[in-house]
Amino acid sequence: MSALFSFHGGLKTTRHKTESNQQPILVNPLPPQLTVPLRQHIGAIAKPLVQVGDRVLKGQMIAQADGYISAAVHAPSSGVVTAMELRPVPHPSGLSDECIVIETDGEERWIERQPLDYRQLHPSEVRGALRSAGVVGLGGAVFPSAVKLNLEGQGGQLDTLILNGAECEPWISCDDRIMRERADEIVAGLHIMVHLLQPREVLIGIEDDKVEAIAAMREACAGTNYQVRAIPTLYPSGSVKQLIKLLTGKEIPVDGLPADIGVQCFNVATAQTVHRAIDLGEPVLSRVVTVTGHVARPANVEVLLGTPFSALIAFCGGYRDGVERLIMGGPMMGFALYDDEVPVTKATNCILAAGAGIGELTPEQPQMPCIRCGACVEACPANLLPQQLYWHARAKEFDKAQDYHLFSCIECGCCSYVCPSHIPLVQFYRYAKNEIWAQEKEKQKAELARQRHQARLDRLEREQKERDAKLRQKAPRQAASTAVTPEADKLPIEAAVARAKPHRIAAPADASPASVAADDDRSEPNS
């Protein structure tokens, strides 16, 4: 094993993995109703393919990927679509989003599954299959995997493929259990990724406190050139940038992507779904969720997407006394929910019932002034100056915050955790990032309005010019006609009659020129 590198800062957190990782993955019973959100990934929201009243089969695509960065959504079980509407989804805002509600029939009837032999297929066909199977990163970021498995236009050559089994959040253990129980499936998925990316080396990074997982993965990787590396247990070693630094010593440039330095990184659970999507023809219908904290029987549960959190909590024996907040994700990077009636999505890796008295999940403490101790600087794994960022974000000086590389912040929460004044630093950074994005959008909108207004002014001017030109064209003829009959302005009809009279006497057929002139005059007020 080659020597490991290290990253700046980080935290030694108290581990709470044993609460949930001592028993095998359980399977949650089929709930009567599944609420499947159409936005379970980063990118464009999926386009629905079904209507209310339709019967759907397990694994049937109910919404297709809309655009390149998007992912399909499937019916997690067979049943009837009973509603397509806005329902609450797990999101820090507590807002609702488009969902397809399926009343399950309990029969679990599958669509016809079509396993593919990826060795016989062109890489783009394999990526297409992954896209329509709804495969996204299951570590929590839910970025469509097919996009990351395409290196065209990014140099094409990959040095290192990294499989992320670090799982550094102190309470989460779903990846740990998947690695222990399903190492063969993970390695099978890894074969497909290797086939698509052709990396020079494959590294699997696992924190060294997961002894059983490391052993299981080493056994599954026997006979391959995949290297399982134990990395020190230090939060946030599971963050992409930090894991790449630990395993390869390379750093991703500011505003860059891992592919820019020849590295690509996937979660272990994602590799498992890649295997299932290609080798078995099964789209992503379920995921393993760690249910832990103040629940009666903490466990890792395999659960269908769309299952309400409340059903999952009930399956784990319900809440214990003293629950204060329900958190999706870990205590470091997760967010609190308003309601436990929201559905499990592809991003739900952990449901944590937090309350006083367990671990360091103490209630929020009153915020004190910054004493400039610099503890946050020492803890920051992204090598930033959290204190400077805080001052500028608090003062709403967003330009200055960007000068201090606000967007390199990974929102890991180390700075807030060590802050002796209990300042919610990460919340300030999130606020500043959101404001900057909103201002950017506002600027684009203003620019569009400016262009449209200018286009309108140009159009009005053009139309006015055209009208003037027409009038000028008409003017000489008018002058000629008024010269012949100067009195026509006042009494056109009388004049026409008077003019017609002598002609009629002389030659009755010659009346037409005068009547044309009179017509011309009459049309004038209209133009």
Binding site: H91, S96, Y431, R452
Partner: protein
Amino acid sequence: MITAIVVLSALAGVAGLLLGFAAVRFKVEGDPIVDKIDAILPQTQCGQCGYAGCRPYAEAIAADEADINQCPPGGENGIIALAELLGRDPKPLNPENGIEKPKMVALIDEHNCIGCTLCIQACPVDAILGAAKHMHTVIAQECTGCELCLPPCPVDCIHMTPITQTIGTWKWSYPVRSETHQPADQATA
């Protein structure tokens, strides 16, 4: 003595020629300060400032004919940005021009629209679609919320509606610990 006069005159002549050439060669088209002011203004084109659009107001500010506190849609932030750009002191919004309101979009009640096209002619950004004696509708993404379509409507079928918040437009709020924990849709209600 004469040499000095000749040398200095020659120098002055050369410098004058150079300056004259530079004035022609590097002539700045238009007034760059107008563009900078225009970039700060919200481009609502509502005319609440008393000028026929954002650009005329920007020109008036640059010519020192108008004050910087006459733009209600730009609000306090807009005035501060203008003050910073022009090196003046920020001042509160002039109430004669209106008050700062949350962003809205126009919505046509399509049952009552008679298809008179008056609102189409009033819209400064061509965000209303329709034809004579046919129903009109507002393209919400293009609407700047200027309210100029409201007065010409003979049947009062246009209303301003607040922009609904979605997951895509939601923002983390300024962290204040004393805030009670409640969903965003209830908080705004």
